[in-house]
Structures are given as structure tokens and as C-alpha cells.
Amino acid sequence: MDFTNELIDWSRLPQVQEVQFARLSTNFRVLSMIRASISSFFWAVVILLAIIFIQLWDFYYILGAILFWLILTGFLLLRAWKLFSFKGYALREHDMLYKSGWIWKRLVAVPYNRIQHVEVRRGPLEELLELRKLQIFTAGGSASDLSISGLAPEQAEQLRLFISEKTGLDEEE
């Protein structure tokens, strides 16, 4: 396919595909495993309730339900384990990149001059594991916002300072 265009020589543009991504804190793996276990437990409760209320006291139904739950749990745990190695962020001069996902892979790029505000959040579980979640808001609605969970506190704080510094700068001059 011929992609050379009259607009601009794209090979001289900064290249997204050559960026080195920084990893999240290794504790993120623990966090996502705990979360997967919680949702697996939740599913166990749902399946149990379904069996009780629909009164499926048949051996094969129960066996099927247990098998289903085991497969689901296995999948959730595997996904939680794998996620870590697929996540990464990179700061460039004018934008921030974030990649994630095992089944659905995504690569998001947000220019600093589009960022409205930055937030560092932590829940009780994250507090325990010394993790922080960085949220970046643009004007493009929730779909275009960026949230990076599983950062070390100092990592998150650095990012927050750096990004809010950058957002401020663009308005100057």
C-alpha cells in the first residue's frame, strides 16, 4: 500500500512504535490476583444462589456448575497473572502512552495539552499493597480518559507532578 503522502514525511515523525515502556509496580500482580479471587468468590456465590433458588439438586447440574466455576476461576487468575506483563506506560515530550490488555490489547496516546486534570487515587486494598491509581481526564468523555492502576506511590506522585507541570506549560507562552 502506498502511504507516502503529500502532507508530511511520516517517517520523520516521532514514532510511537519505537517507545520503551516502563512497567508497573510488581505489587500490581498481587493486587490483580486478589481482585480476581474476589470476583471468583462472587461468582461462586451467584452460582450457589442460582442452584438454591432454581433447585437444581441434580448431580450433573452441580458437577457442571462446579466445572464452570473452576474454568472461570482459572481464566480469571490466568488473566490477572498475565495482565502485568502487558501493561506499561511511557512519557514522551508532548504526550503520554499507555498500553494494556491481554485479550483486548490497547495502546492509548494522550497529548499533554489535552489533559484537563490529574488525580491520584487509592482504595483500602491499594493502601495495603502500597499502590496508587493515576487517573488522567481529558475533555473527550470517559472513553478517552486514561487510568493507570498499580503504580508505586512515588511513581504516581512523580507522574502527577510531571503531567500537571506539562499541562500548565502548554498554556504559557
Binding site: M1, E119, V120
Partner: protein, 499 residues
Amino acid sequence: MRKNNTPDIFQTPRRQAQNALIFIVLRTLGRLLSQLWPFLLIMLFSNPDYSSLFYIIITLIFSSVVLITSIISYFRFYYYIKDDKLHIEQGVFRRSQSSVSVARIQNVQLEDNLIHRFFKTVSASVTTAGSSESEFVINSMDRGEAEQLREFVLQRKKSLEQKEEKTEVKEAKSHDFQQLFQLSFSQLFKVGISQNHFRAIGIMMGAVAYLLSQAQEVFRQDIFDWAYTFVGWTNQADYLIIFLLVLILFVLAMMISMITVFFTYYNLRLEISRDQVRLRQGLIRRKEQTAQLRKIQIFDWSTNPIRRMMNFVTVILQQASSTENGGQNTLYIPGCATDHQESLLNSVFKKINLRPSGLQLHPSMVWRYTLFRGLIPAMLAVGASYNLFGYYALFFLLWVPLSYVFNRKLYQSWRVEWDEEHIAIKRGVWNYSVSIMPWYKIQSIEFKQSRFQHRRDLGNLWLYTAGGNLMIPYLELADAYKLQNLILYKAESTKKSWM
């Protein structure tokens, strides 16, 4: 120099005014009441026994935990301005620290109610561009301080805007609207005819089905059985009846959508000034919408064969959402003649000169779409209706080749065009639509790949703006990267404001 301008009082973290506690507690009580009133009713009217006592205790414990949390939240809420940024820290179990650059603040709205007035305080909500999520509320603060805060923010904003105006060519802002076009009665009629009547049919069928099921409830008798015996679907002649019924249905649907069109778009006028468009329409409920040209993010127009025959299109202008226009972000303009559409486009996005980009989608899109929109729904339909129709249910599988042909046409219709300032995507089989967006209006870009797409180095590219999104499916990885690099360059190298 600027830092000295920051009012001293905001430089150290401060809590909200003490009476904010009243608002927090009142709001929490209100929320609790709205959640728990069914329980309260049951408790009031049930006989008091041990089990109801148990529920009462549970409810009380729950409510007091919520209430105490909300009170603690007051003591955990701090705000301050540092390095030209507004910082807000809040949360009890989930702590959060936000920082928003003062330059990004759109507005500081001050409000007071009776309690506020008694304490001489106001509530302040700080809004930034975009979603409602990007709004901070300070429940209560001293009126004088709040005014100082607002003054400070607006002053900063004004100095920035002045800078912007200096950099741009000074244009005298005029609000003299010139009428671009007005829908005449016959055009209104054409718009009505070219509406999507299938939608109206769907609504009618839904209404009829609902009425029938209601009637069945009332008469406690199988009304469908009754209908079958009454109409007697056994004779060959009944096909005529079915045909007539369908015809009547279609005519009715057409009439309904024509009447709706007549009432909503009656006397539609589109006017344009140097920096605004204004749309007025309506017979009984008159509606007037204005949009600032620079706030328009995406210019959409679409057409179908009937409209193409009558030489007009439907234009949709997608504006950046903000609290100012009360959520009315899109201007829907039906019955826009082709040359009007072009002159509108030229005044919204100046100097537009689209050329083919040479970008192509991957042909595997046809098969994947046929799988997800053809085969899987057809299989589900067969499975669901097998008990009802028996082997006739297999007729649903005819949907698969139809869907294949449609998706193939859709694939062939896809075009990506561009020029120095804009990108346009064109696609559609029956409903052909075109979306045009200036490069720099982008907010963020996302490249998404499913497992299948990842194996083949394909993916969908999402372009997010403050007024809607565009998506280009099944791009090859290399092309997606090129486009992403190009768009980022375009967005980052310009000083133009996206709104």
C-alpha cells in the same frame, strides 16, 4: 510574577467552612432516606417482632456507618492552590488527590441557599471542559474568599485569552446572522418521506405486542389463540390479508413519521454568522440552538438513496460538550441541500480540500463482520425459535449470505480522506455517511486489537474528541502507527485551541 497573584489564603491546605458539615450530613440523610424508605415503610406497618427488630438494628448500624463516614469526609477534604494549580484532596476509604491547572478551569460557579446565607457562605463548583466527572464541588466556603477564588481564576483565564487573541488574526466578532436556508413545506414533506420508516414500524409493533400482552392479562384468555381462530390462518386467501396488513402497517408508520417530522422540523431555519451557527425549528415546541463554530468538533453528513434522489442530506454538527449549552451538543439539520451542505462545511472548517489518503482496511473485516453480525445472531435466532417453527427456523440462516453481501459492500464503501488540516471517513451501504474532523481537535487516540486482530497485526483505531468519536476498523498495524504518529504530531504541534 504570577505566583504572587495567588491569594495568600489559598496557598495552604484548607478545609471547607464549618457549616459544610450541615450540608454533608443533610445530603447523606437524604440519600439514605431515598435508599431505605421501602424498608422504613415495611418496618412501620409490620407487626413488631424479633425479626423486624433485627432489621431495624441492621439498618441503624448501616446508616450510622454511612453518616459517620460522611462526617469524617469533611475532615479529610482539603483544597489549596500551589504552583498555579488547584489541588483537592478528599476521601475516607478511597483517598484521592486531584490537581487541575488554573488555566484549564472553565468556570467557578457560586451558589447559595438559605443555610448558606445564614452563615454568609456559598458553595463553589469548579468546572473544567468535558464530562461532568471533571467537576469539583466545595460545599461551603466564605463568600468573600469564594469571590476571590473566582476572580483569580477568571483573571488568569482572561490574560490567557488575550494572549490567544494576540496570536490569532484579530477578527471583529460580529453576530450578524445570515440565513443559509429555510425548509419549505415541500422540502419538509420530502424529509418526511425519506425518514427511516422501519423504526416507526418497530415502535408500532412493540406497542401492539405490549397491548396484546396486557389484554391477555386482563381477559385471562389466550388472545393469540382467539385471534388465530377468528382470523383463521388456514386458507390460501389469507396471504392476501397478511399482505394487506403489512401494507396498512407501512402506510401507518409512514404517516406517523411524517407527522413527527412536520411537528419537529416545521419552519426550520439555519443561520450562520462569522463565528456561530443558529438553528431554529418546531411548530408547537419551538427550539433554538446556537453553536460556536470553533467548538464544533465533528461535521457529519449522511444520506440514503431516496435523499440522494431528491438531492439533500442530513447534517449533524457535534459540538464540544460544556455546561454552558446545557448538554445540547449536537445540531441535527435534516433536509440540507447538497450545495448548502458544502457552503456550511466551508464556513465551519475553513480551507477544506480532501484527497484520498490511500489508507485501506484489511479485507478480513468482511469475514469477521459476517461472523459477528451474520452467523452468530442467525444461530441464536435458529436456536431460540426452533421450538416454535421446527425446521423452518433454519430459514434464519439466509441472514448469513445477506450479511456477507452487505459487509462486503460496506468494506468496499470505506474511504479515508484527508488534507493538511482534516481527516474524513466515508462509509455506508444504504445509509452513506461522512464524518470530517480537524486533526487538532483530537483528545486522545486508542488502538485496540482483539486476539484475532493481534495475530494478524490488525486493529481498530479510535479517535476521541470532545464531541464524539470516530473509529477506523481493521487497519494494518503499520498504517495504524503511521496515522497515530501523524495525528499526534498534528495535535501537538499546533497552538490552536480545540474549543
